[in-house]
Amino acid sequence: MKPVNEFLIQDEQVFSGAVSCRGCGWSLLARHLSSILGPNTVYVLPASCFSIITGPYPLNELKASVVHTLFAAAPATATGVRAALDRQGKKDTTVCIMAGDGGTFDIGLQALSGAAARGENILYVVNDNGAYMNTGIQTSTATPYGAVTTTNPGTGYKKSWPKDLMGIIAAHNLPYAATCSLAFLEDFRAKVKRARDTEGFRLLMVDGPCPPGHKIEPGDAIHVARLAVEARLFPLYEIERQHYKLSYKPDAYLPVEECLKYQGRFRHLFQEGNRQMLEDIQEHVDRHWRKLEALEKLHMEEEVTDKKAGYFI
């Protein structure tokens, strides 16, 4: 057992009693995030699981100010909060949005794009658990291909591919965006620190384990999150002004089914006659990985050119 002073979290910024499900990623995410951002933070939460987890009135799990706002409006609300703080000279206060994938990929996308394009000084953290979990596992545009949800039930499983949010975000030319996994905590924490210390609009997308939604055992949540990274289903990378950099390259090639088989939402993929779907997912994942590698390579080449030109950021 490690001595106390070697725990990653030295300064706990949440109270006990969060009402998340067992194995939920949100609580772990919030603990680590808040321990790095500290109390000089205003959190802005659209409708999401976390809005509930952090506490119904009059409770507040976070030891910082929290504004619960409308589903579509977190980036816009945060814009107003940021403006007020700036006008009052509180430029060192962090404004941090914590949103789910529904509030980010779907209903909140326009407001997100607006705030990102304006370069608002806001940190946006999206916990991507691949469906509207708070309302009971309905399909979002983050829901993976092949997954079963309550609005894509049974053989009506999702037959379209999820949106490439990070690609959309990269197109906004942000100073910093990154994907994170709760199975890679030191990488996650380093990215939070990097995001905290960057000015402008920053976005972190975290792979969110959701035992009830993914139909996994709570005890397997972090293991499945790790497998998602190892199988390249959820690659870890950073994007700085459209320059991609992979944070983790798995040593061995792990087929996607090694991760998907733990998740009840994909159970039908392993039934007879559905092998092709698994192959389609594998092909999609491999192609996305090759794209990320190519983008990273482009970044390295550009870095050399930019340095020569003297305008590398």
């Binding site: 802005v44 009135y57 507040n60 976070l62 504004v67 816009a76 407001a111």
Partner: protein, 402 residues
């Protein structure tokens, strides 16, 4: 038109009377510029903006004033009215004085956020330039704001650009006293794009009337963390609504007190409602909002037994003020609301509210739909309404239908 032209003003010369209002300048302003001037005079600190006809020149003018340093505010080009109002919510929660403007579809789009701003008890003030819903129509109509009457916002309707400017100033005081947001409504084009003489007060005079906003317990304070807006259980939600109601029922009286204080400082008085030629001799009372009032004022001069009830405060509906204004009216008298709105019901919004305010009173009331979608309510239209109201009217009448 350049800013210079807009703001040059008309210097008092020998052909003009000496300044009617001390510590004012008389300018020729379109209604939209009067609304923007009011926001500047109130030292608004945050303006989230999104364009929509016929409001656009309000946010354009504000952008200009901020860019030129005439106004110390943060101005943000938002991505929609929904976002503009959500940003207003965030900044107001952060303790800033916030202003924005919208119209028609923009107000409809912001509907969800209107409720949120009201129930967060935030003293946001906006100008709405009334226009109706799609099929596209950009002309004068009050269906947009009247459809938002149940969002919890206070609503004032300005008859003139002067009244719009003065009402915005009074609205910040009222909003910040009661923590209830205010919508000041002006008519599309008839007001928004029509130039009038407007007396613009010196900012120092406005400062005497309107103190700086003091952040309250419902403001973000980083040193004293709080959570706002999280899931509220039924008992608490019910009580929050009770405390809101307790403040909402004070609006009419506070608005009258504030208007009296305004009159003492600025020399111009307003009331929640205005009664013109209403007494025991009056046989017919036209009930109006906004610029239709001015037309009716002129027309009734030819009709000694026709009066006019102008509603300036519409929400919460000033029941007591209406009853007071009509107290000398003979029981045989007839009331005729003129509706520049259509909300899908048999009677228009003004009729509905008037019936509620006058329940148990003997007056007969006939409703007159006129002027939806910007159709001109001319003096002739008003005369037709007077004629119809006196000669076997239907319960509900549509005037000037071709």
């Amino acid at each position: 038109m350049t800013t210079e032209t807009i703001l040059k003003g008309t210097a008092p010369g020998k052909h003009r009377p000496a300044a009617r209002y001390p510590r004012h300048r008389q300018l020729i302003l379109k209604g939209n510029y009067a609304a923007a001037e009011a926001a500047r005079l109130c030292r608004v600190g945050f303006v989230p903006a999104y364009p929509i006809t016929p409001q656009t020149t309000i946010v354009e003018r504000l952008a200009e004033m901020v860019a030129q340093g005439e106004m110390d505010a943060r101005y943000v080009n938002m991505d929609s009215e929904h976002s503009a109002f959500a940003a207003a919510l965030g900044a107001s929660l952060g303790g800033e004085r916030v202003f924005t403007a919208t119209a028609g579809q923009g107000l409809f789009y912001a509907h969800e956020v209107l409720h949120a701003i009201a129930h967060f008890r935030l003293p946001v003030v906006i100008a709405n330039v009334g226009r109706p819903s799609i099929p596209w129509n950009i002309w004068s109509d009050q269906s947009d704001s009247l459809a938002q009457r149940d969002t919890g916002w206070i609503q004032f309707y300005g008859e003139s650009s002067q009244e719009v400017l003065d009402t915005v100033i009074q609205s910040y005081l009222l909003a910040e006293q009661l923590n209830i947001p205010v919508m000041v409504v002006l008519d599309a084009f008839y007001q928004s794009h029509t130039s009038e003489n407007v007396w613009v007060p010196d900012i120092g005079l406005v400062d005497e009337f309107l103190p700086r906003r003091v952040p309250g317990p419902m403001s973000i304070d980083v040193a004293n963390p709080k959570s706002f807006g999280g899931l509220v259980p039924p008992e608490h939600y019910n009580k929050m609504n009770y405390t809101y109601w307790r403040d909402a029922v004070q609006v009419a009286e506070r608005a009258e007190q504030n208007a009296a204080g305004f009159a003492r400082l600025f020399g111009r008085g307003y009331h929640n409602v205005e009664a013109v030629n209403i007494g025991p001799h009056t046989k017919l009372v036209l009930v109006t909002l906004s610029s239709i009032t001015s037309t009716a004022r002129g027309v009734i001069q030819k009709y000694p037994d026709v009066g006019l009830l102008k509603l300036r405060l519409f929400k919460p509906f000033p029941k007591a003020s209406v009853q007071e204004a009509l107290k000398e009216l003979h029981k045989e008298a007839v009331l005729a609301p003129i509706e520049r709105n259509f909300l899908g019901d048999r009677e228009g919004a003004i009729f509905q509210e008037m019936q509620r305010a006058l329940y148990g009173n003997p007056f007969r009331m006939y409703d007159f739909y006129a002027g939806a979608g910007g159709k001109d309510v001319s003096p002739e239209t008003i005369e037709k309404i007077i004629y119809l109201a006196r000669n076997h009217p239907k319960d509900v009448n549509w005037v000037d239908i071709a």
